[in-house]
C-alpha cells in the first residue's frame, strides 16, 4: 500500500466532518424547543422578559443553525465522494431515509427559519410563533430520519442483499429497526440537555457579571428545571440503550466495558489501559460485579467478552472504552448540576449561589463533549463494519479516489473548519457579552410575583 491509505484517511475525514457538524444540531434541536417555550410564555403573559430572552437566544440559534447547514451539506455529498461503494450498496435503503429527511425536515426548517428571523414586522405574533414551532418540529423530524438511517447501519433488518446491493423488503422494519427508538430518544434528549445546560451556563455568566440579572435569573430558572428533569432521564434512557446494544451488538458492549473474556460477576473498570494486541487491560481499577449489575441487573449476570469476537472483527477497544467513560462521567455531572440547582432553589438561593453559577458556566461545553463521546462509542464500536455484520468499512470506500486526494481535502477541512469555528466562537461570545439587554419597563419591580419560582412559596428574593 502507498504511505497514505485512502481508507483510514476517508474514515478520519468523515469522523472529523461529522463530529464538527453534530455540534450544531445538538445545540439547535434543543434550543429550538426552548425558543418555543420562551415565545409561548410571551404570547400568554405578554411579559417583556420572555421576548427579550427569545430575541437574545434566537441570535445564537441562527448563528449555530447556519453552521449546521453548511457543514451538513458537505456530508450529503461526502457519502458519494469518499464512500461510493457504500453509496451504491446501501443507497436503496439509506437514500430514501435521507431523502425523507430533506423533504420533511430541511425544507420545513429552511422555509420557516426566514420568517422566524426576519418576519417580525411581516407576520402577526401567532403566525410568528407557528413559524418557531415548525422550525422546532423540523429539527426533531430531521433527527428522526437521520437516526433511523444510522441505527439501520447498527442493527440492519428489513432488507436483503441481492446482486451486490441491498433491496428493501419492509420499510417499517428498516425505519423502526431494533436500536432506533433508543438512539432517537438518547440523541434528542442529549440535544435538549445540551441546550438547557448552555442556557443555564450563559445565564449564570450574566448573573455573575450582573449583566441584567433580572432577565438572566428567569432563563437560569427555566434551564435549571430542565437540567434537573432531563439529566436523570438521560441516564435511564442511556441504560436502556446499553441493554439494547448488549442484545444486538455484543462486541461494542465488550469494548465499552473493556471486557476481554465472557464471564459472570464482571467488574466495571473505572480506569484501565486496554491492550488490543495482548487482549487484556493494564492498570485496571475495578468495581466488582458492577458491569454485570448494570448490564444484566444481576451481579452474577454474564457479560460478553471480546474473546468471542475474531480479532479482525473487533472494534478498536481503547477509543470506545475511554469515550464511554467520558460520556458517563459528564452524564453524572449533569445530574449533579440538576440536584445542586434544586437544592439552591429549595433554599431560595438559585440566582444568588455563585458557586452554582460558576459550575453552570464550566458545564457549558459538557453537552457537546458528551454527545461527541457518545457518537464515538457507537460509531467506533460498530467497526470494522459500516453496516454491522454485513458490509465492511474497507469495502465501502471509493476505489478510484486516491489517498492523496482524501489527505488534501482532509487538511483543507481541518484548516477551514478550524478557522470557521474560531469565527463562530468569536461572534458567539460577542452576542453573549451583549446579553439580552435591559427591560424597558421594570416589570420585575411592578410585578414581584413574576420572579417567583414555579412552586408557590419559593420566592426568589429580588435584589
Amino acid at each position: 500500500m502507498p504511505p497514505m491509505d485512502a481508507e483510514i484517511l476517508a474514515r478520519l475525514q468523515f469522523a472529523f466532518t461529522v463530529a464538527f457538524h453534530i455540534l450544531f444540531p445538538t445545540l439547535t434541536i434543543g434550543l429550538a424547543a426552548i425558543l418555543v417555550f420562551f415565545e409561548a410564555r410571551h404570547l400568554r403573559s405578554g411579559e417583556e422578559v420572555w421576548i427579550r430572552l427569545y430575541k437574545f437566544w434566537v441570535k445564537i440559534f441562527a448563528l449555530s443553525f447556519g453552521m449546521g447547514v453548511v457543514s451538513g451539506i458537505v456530508l450529503s455529498y461526502q457519502f458519494g465522494t469518499n464512500w461510493s461503494e457504500w453509496s451504491r450498496i446501501t443507497g436503496p435503503v439509506l437514500g430514501p431515509l435521507i431523502g425523507f429527511e430533506v423533504l420533511t425536515a430541511f425544507f420545513l426548517e429552511a422555509g420557516f427559519l426566514g420568517i422566524m428571523l426576519f418576519g417580525w414586522d411581516k407576520v402577526g405574533p401567532r403566525l410568528h410563533f407557528l413559524a418557531t414551532c415548525l422550525v422546532a418540529v423540523g429539527t426533531v423530524i430531521s433527527a428522526f430520519w437521520i437516526l433511523a438511517a444510522n441505527s439501520w447501519m447498527q442493527t440492519p433488518q428489513g432488507a436483503s442483499f441481492v446482486d451486490g446491493h441491498f433491496v428493501v423488503d419492509d420499510w417499517l422494519a428498516v425505519i423502526f429497526n431494533p436500536s432506533f427508538p433508543w438512539r432517537f430518544l438518547h440523541m434528542t434528549n442529549a440535544s435538549f440537555l445540551t441546550a438547557a445546560t448552555v442556557v443555564a451556563g450563559v445565564s449564570a455568566y450574566h448573573l455573575l457579571a450582573q449583566n441584567n440579572p433580572e432577565v438572566a435569573k428567569r432563563s437560569f430558572s427555566v434551564a435549571m428545571w430542565a437540567v434537573l428533569f432531563l439529566a436523570p432521564l438521560q441516564i435511564v434512557i442511556g441504560d436502556f440503550h446499553g441493554l439494547n446494544t448488549l442484545k444486538h451488538q455484543p462486541a461494542k458492549i465488550a469494548a465499552m466495558e473493556g471486557n476481554w473474556v465472557t464471564r459472570s460477576h464482571a467488574p466495571f473498570h473505572l480506569f484501565a489501559i486496554p491492550d488490543q494486541n495482548a487482549q487484556t487491560n493494564h492498570l485496571s481499577i475495578e468495581i466488582p460485579y458492577a458491569a454485570s449489575l448494570i448490564l444484566t441487573h444481576d451481579p452474577a449476570g454474564v457479560v460478553p467478552g471480546l474473546d468471542e469476537i475474531p480479532l479482525e472483527d473487533q472494534p478498536p477497544v481503547g477509543i470506545v472504552f475511554w469515550a464511554f467513560r467520558v460520556m458517563i462521567t459528564l452524564g453524572f455531572l449533569f445530574f449533579a448540576l440538576g440536584l445542586w440547582g434544586a437544592w439552591a432553589r429549595w433554599r431560595g438561593r438559585l440566582a444568588e449561589d455563585r458557586h452554582l453559577a460558576r459550575f453552570a458556566v464550566v458545564m457549558i461545553p459538557a453537552g457537546f463533549v458528551a454527545t461527541v463521546s457518545g457518537w464515538i462509542v457507537t460509531e467506533v464500536g460498530r467497526q470494522p463494519w459500516t453496516v454491522y455484520g454485513v458490509l465492511r468499512t474497507a469495502d465501502s470506500v471509493s476505489p478510484t479516489v486516491t489517498g492523496s486526494s482524501v489527505a488534501t481535502t482532509l487538511v483543507l477541512f481541518l484548516i477551514v473548519y478550524g478557522g470557521l469555528f474560531g469565527a463562530y466562537l468569536y461572534y458567539l461570545l460577542k452576542i453573549i457579552r451583549q446579553g439580552p439587554g435591559a427591560l424597558t419597563v421594570r416589570e420585575t419591580d411592578e410585578r414581584p410575583e413574576a420572579i417567583r419560582g414555579a412552586r408557590p412559596g419559593l420566592v426568589v428574593p429580588s435584589e
Binding site: 461510493s84 481535502t409 451583549q434
Partner: protein, 338 residues
Amino acid sequence: MTDIAFISAGVIGFAILMYVVLDGFDLGVGILFPFAPDETSRNTMINSVAPVWDGNETWLVLGGGGLLVFFPTAYSIALPAFYIPVMAMLFALIFRGVTFEFRHQAHTSTELWNRSFFWGSVVAAFAQGVLLGALVQGVHVEGVRYAGGMFDWLTPFSILTGLGVVAGYGLLGATWLVYKTEGKTQAWARNAAVVLGGGTLVAMAAVSVMTPMLRPMIAERWFGGLNILYLAPVPLITGAVFITLFWSILGKRELLPFLCTIGLFMLGFFGIAISLYPNIVPPSLTIWEAVAPRSSVMFGLVGVAVVLPMVLIYTVYAYSVFHGKASAEGGYAHHEHE
C-alpha cells in the same frame, strides 16, 4: 406499467432546475457583491436573499439526496468522478453560507466577509458549471463503477460551462436585484444585467455549438432525420427570450427580466436533457440501468408525491411574506440594540 425510472429522472431534473434557478439568483447576488455602488447597496442586496437562501440551497441537498434515492449507482459513479469540483463547490458554499450570519455580527471585519461571500459564490457557481460540463462530456464507467482518474473532468469544455454558469448566475442575480431593489442599486443592477446578459448569450451559444461536437450521438439527436424540425423551436425560443430580456431591461421593466432569465435557464436545461436522454451518466449508463430497486423508488416517489406539493406551497408562502423591495435596514437590523 408506468416507467418509474423516467418519473424518477423527472423528479431529479425538477430538483436540479429548482436549485439552479433559486440558488442561482442568490449566488448571483454574491457574484455581483464587490461591484455594488456602496456598502448600503450591499446591505440591501444581502437582505434581499437572507430570508430565503437556506431554502434555496436545500434543493441542492434534494438533488444529491434524490440521486442517492433513485439512482444510487449514478451517485456512486458521479461523485468520485467529480471529486475535485464537488469538494471545491462544498468549500465555497461553506464560505458563502456562513457570511449571512457572520457579516451581520461583524463590525470591523465586514470587508473580510464581503470577500468570503464573493469568492464563495463565484467558486460555487464555477464548480457547478464545471460539473455540468464534465457530466455532458461523459464519464469513464466500467461496470457499475467509475474507472477514470481524478482530473478527467478538467477540459476546455468544462471550463467553458463553468464560466457560462458564472455569467448566467450573475444575470439571475442582477435581474433579481432589478426586481427587489430601487434607486441607485437598481440602476446599477440594470447595467450589470446588460453586461451579464451578453456574457450569458455568448456562453450559451458556444456551449450549444460545442455540445453536438462532443459525441456523434448528440449530433444525431439534434440533426438526424426530421429531429431538427421538431427541435428547432428550442434555439428559436431561446433567441426570442434573449431579445425580450434585453428589451425589458432597457425598457426599465422590473420583474420581466428576471422571468426571462429563468426562462433561459429552463430552455438551457431542456436542451441539455435532449442531448443526454436517456443517459443519466453519459455516454452509456441509462436511467433504466442506474435506477434503484423498485421498493426504494416507490417509497421515494410516494414521499415526493405527498410532501413536495406542501413544500412548494409553503415555499411560495415564505417568499410572499418577504414580497416587495428589500431595504438596507430590513431583516436583521430589526433585532434590538445593535
